[in-house]
C-alpha cells in the first residue's frame, strides 16, 4: 500500500492521548487531568433539546446555522462586548471551537504560510495549522510573565511568510490571562504586518479577576480577527459539539464554503440547546464559575503548600505548577505520580516544549477530590 499523507505522518500523536492510554488501564484513579467541566449541562438546556426532538426538529439547518441561534449569538456579542456582527453573514455556527479552528486555518492559509503560535497552548492549534498546509512558528511564554506571551517574541518571529497569529486566552493549559496592553501590542504587530488574528476565546466567561478582554474589541483588531467561541466550557456542553466563529463577511463566507462541503451544518439539536443556553443558561453558568473560582484558590494554595510553585491563574480551570526542582521530567513526574499515588495530571510538554518542567492540573472537579488529590501530591513530592 502507498504511504498515507506525509502531513499526517509528520504530526506526532498527542501527548495527552499517550497518557490517557496508561490511565485507562488503571482503577480508582483520582484525575486532575480532565479538560472539561464536571457539571452536567444545565437542565433547561437538556430539556429544550428533548422537547425539540419530540416535536421532530431533526432536519438540516442553514449551513450557517439557524438564524435564531445566529441572532442570539450576535446579540450576546453586542451586549457583552459591544461588538457588531451581522447575524446574516458574520456568524457561522460550528461543531465546537475545534471545527471553527480547522475552518479558520483552512480559510486563510496557503501552502507554506506561517502562523505564529504562542506555547504552551491547546493541543490542536499546531496540528490545525499543519493540516491546512501551513507552518506553525512557535514562540514560548514564560512563568515569569504569568504565561502570557511577550509581544516582542511575536514581533521577532514575524517573517515575510507570516499570515496569522493564533492566540487562546484564557489559556488551556496555563490559565493565563494577558494584560490588556499585551493584547493591544499583539494587535498592533498584526496591523503593522497585515496579519490575521485567530482568537480562541472559549474560556472567556471563565475569567476571575475583572472582565475578559475580547480581542476584536481592541483598536484595529475587528477587521482582521476571527473570533472563535463556544458553549463547551461556559455552559458545560462539551459533548454537544457546538460553537461559533465571528468575523468579516469575507472570512465567514470562506469558512462557510469549507463547512458547507465538509460538515453541512452543526447538529440541529445542539443548535437548539445552544440557543437555550444563551437565553436561559447564565444563572447556572454563573453558579459554576463561582465554584471554579473557589476551587482555583484552594488548588493554588494546596499545590504551593505541597511544594509545587504555582501561579494564581486568571481564567479557565487549569493551573500549571512547576515541578522543575524535583529533578524529574514532566513525563516522569506524571507517570510516577500516577503509579505511586493514583493521581492523574497531564505533563506540561503535551502543550509545547516550553511546558516541560510543568504539569497541568484541572480544577474542574469537586473540592473534596481536589483536596484528596493535593494530599496525595504532597505525600508524593515529600518522598522525592
Amino acid at each position: 500500500m502507498k504511504a498515507i499523507s506525509h502531513v499526517v505522518q509528520s504530526i506526532p500523536p498527542s501527548g495527552i492521548r499517550r497518557f490517557f492510554d496508561i490511565v485507562s488501564t488503571m482503577h480508582d484513579v483520582l484525575s486532575l487531568g480532565v479538560g472539561e467541566p464536571d457539571f452536567d449541562t444545565p437542565w433547561c438546556v437538556r430539556e429544550a433539546c428533548i422537547y425539540s426532538l419530540e416535536r421532530g426538529h431533526t432536519h438540516y439547518t442553514s449551513n450557517y446555522g439557524t438564524i435564531e441561534l445566529r441572532r442570539a449569538i450576535s446579540q450576546y456579542l453586542a451586549l457583552s462586548e459591544g461588538l457588531e456582527y451581522h447575524p446574516e453573514n458574520q456568524i457561522l455556527v460550528t461543531v465546537g471551537v475545534s471545527e471553527g479552528m480547522d475552518l479558520a486555518m483552512r480559510a486563510i492559509i496557503n501552502p507554506g504560510d506561517e502562523v505564529i503560535v504562542p506555547e504552551p497552548c491547546f493541543v490542536s492549534y499546531k496540528p490545525c495549522v499543519m493540516f491546512a498546509g501551513g507552518n506553525p512558528v512557535v514562540v514560548p511564554s514564560y512563568a515569569e510573565d504569568g504565561f502570557a506571551v511577550k509581544p516582542q517574541e511575536i514581533r521577532a518571529a514575524v517573517t515575510s511568510k507570516t499570515k496569522a497569529i493564533l492566540i487562546g486566552y484564557p489559556s488551556n493549559p496555563t490559565g493565563a490571562v494577558p494584560a490588556r496592553e499585551t493584547l493591544e501590542e499583539i494587535v498592533r504587530i498584526a496591523c503593522e504586518h497585515d496579519l490575521y488574528i485567530v482568537s480562541d476565546e472559549i474560556y472567556a466567561r471563565l475569567t476571575y479577576n475583572g472582565k475578559h478582554t475580547c480581542v476584536p474589541t481592541l483598536p484595529g483588531a475587528y477587521e482582521r480577527t476571527i473570533l472563535l467561541n463556544g458553549f463547551s466550557k461556559a455552559y458545560a456542553m462539551t459533548g454537544w459539539r457546538i460553537g461559533y466563529a465571528a468575523s468579516s463577511p469575507e472570512i465567514i463566507e470562506a469558512m462557510m464554503k469549507i463547512h458547507q462541503y465538509t460538515m453541512m451544518c452543526a447538529s440541529t439539536m445542539a443548535q437548539v440547546a445552544a440557543l437555550e443556553a444563551l437565553r436561559n443558561g447564565d444563572r447556572e453558568s454563573d453558579e459554576m464559575i463561582e465554584q471554579y473560582n473557589h476551587r482555583r484558590r484552594v488548588i493554588v494554595k494546596g499545590l504551593n503548600d505541597a511544594g509545587l510553585p504555582c501561579l494564581m491563574p486568571g481564567g479557565a480551570f487549569y493551573v500549571f505548577p512547576s515541578i522543575k526542582h524535583t529533578g524529574l521530567s514532566s513525563d516522569e513526574f506524571c507517570e510516577r505520580l500516577l503509579f505511586e499515588e493514583k493521581v492523574a495530571v497531564v505533563p506540561g510538554n503535551a502543550f509545547g516544549e516550553c511546558g516541560e518542567g510543568h504539569i497541568r492540573c484541572s480544577y474542574a472537579t469537586s473540592l473534596d477530590k481536589i483536596n484528596l488529590a493535593i494530599e496525595r501530591i504532597a505525600r508524593f513530592v515529600s518522598r522525592l
Binding site: I16, F19, S31, G33, V34, D38, E290, H294, V298, A344
Partner: protein, 160 residues
C-alpha cells in the same frame, strides 16, 4: 453580611472558616467574624444535617395539610399560624395564596397519628374553616437535595 460565605455554608455547613478563607481569598479572622455576626443577627439560624431517614430505617410519615382560615377582628392569620406551629408535630407552616391559606407540614410515626392530630387539634381551632390532607408517598427532592443515587463521573480520565 457576606453572601458568598453564606452560599458556601448553605452548600456544606461543615466548611471551616479556614477553608472558606482560602476559597474566597479573605483572611480567616475576617470570615470567623462575619459568621459570628451573621449568627448573632439571626441570618444564620442553625446548622443541620440532611438525613435520608428512610434509608436509616426510621419510619416517619409526613402529610401536607392545607388549612382554610377565616380571620376575624383580633384573630389574624398570624395568630392562627402561631397556635399551629407551637405543636412539635408541625414541621413547617406557610401562609400561601390560593384556595387555602395555611400550608402545614405535619410529621408523625403513623398515618393514623397524623389523622388524629388533624382532626383533634387543627380542624378544631378557632378560625379554621376546613382542612385538606395529603400524605407524602415518596420524596424526590427536598431543599435542593435530590433523593436518588448520584450518577458517577462519566468523563474520560484525561482529556485535552
Amino acid at each position: 453580611m457576606d453572601i458568598e460565605v453564606l452560599k458556601i455554608l448553605a452548600r456544606d455547613a461543615r466548611t471551616s472558616p479556614a477553608e472558606i478563607a482560602v476559597m474566597t481569598g479573605k483572611n480567616e479572622d475576617e470570615v470567623r467574624h462575619a459568621i459570628s455576626e451573621m449568627e448573632q443577627a439571626g441570618i444564620i439560624r442553625s446548622y443541620k444535617t440532611v438525613i435520608d431517614w428512610e434509608k436509616a430505617g426510621v419510619e416517619r410519615v409526613f402529610a401536607f395539610i392545607d388549612v382554610r382560615v377565616s380571620p376575624s377582628r383580633g384573630v389574624g392569620f398570624d395568630d392562627v399560624a402561631r397556635r399551629v406551629y407551637k405543636y412539635p408535630e408541625v414541621h413547617s407552616v406557610y401562609l400561601v395564596s390560593g384556595d387555602y391559606d395555611l400550608r402545614v407540614v405535619v410529621e408523625g410515626q403513623t398515618m393514623k397519628e397524623i389523622a388524629f392530630f388533624v382532626a383533634e387539634k387543627l380542624a378544631t381551632l378557632d378560625g379554621v374553616l376546613s382542612t385538606r390532607s395529603s400524605f407524602l408517598l415518596k420524596k424526590y427532592k427536598e431543599d435542593g437535595e435530590i433523593y436518588e443515587e448520584p450518577e458517577g463521573d462519566e468523563r474520560l480520565a484525561v482529556t485535552p
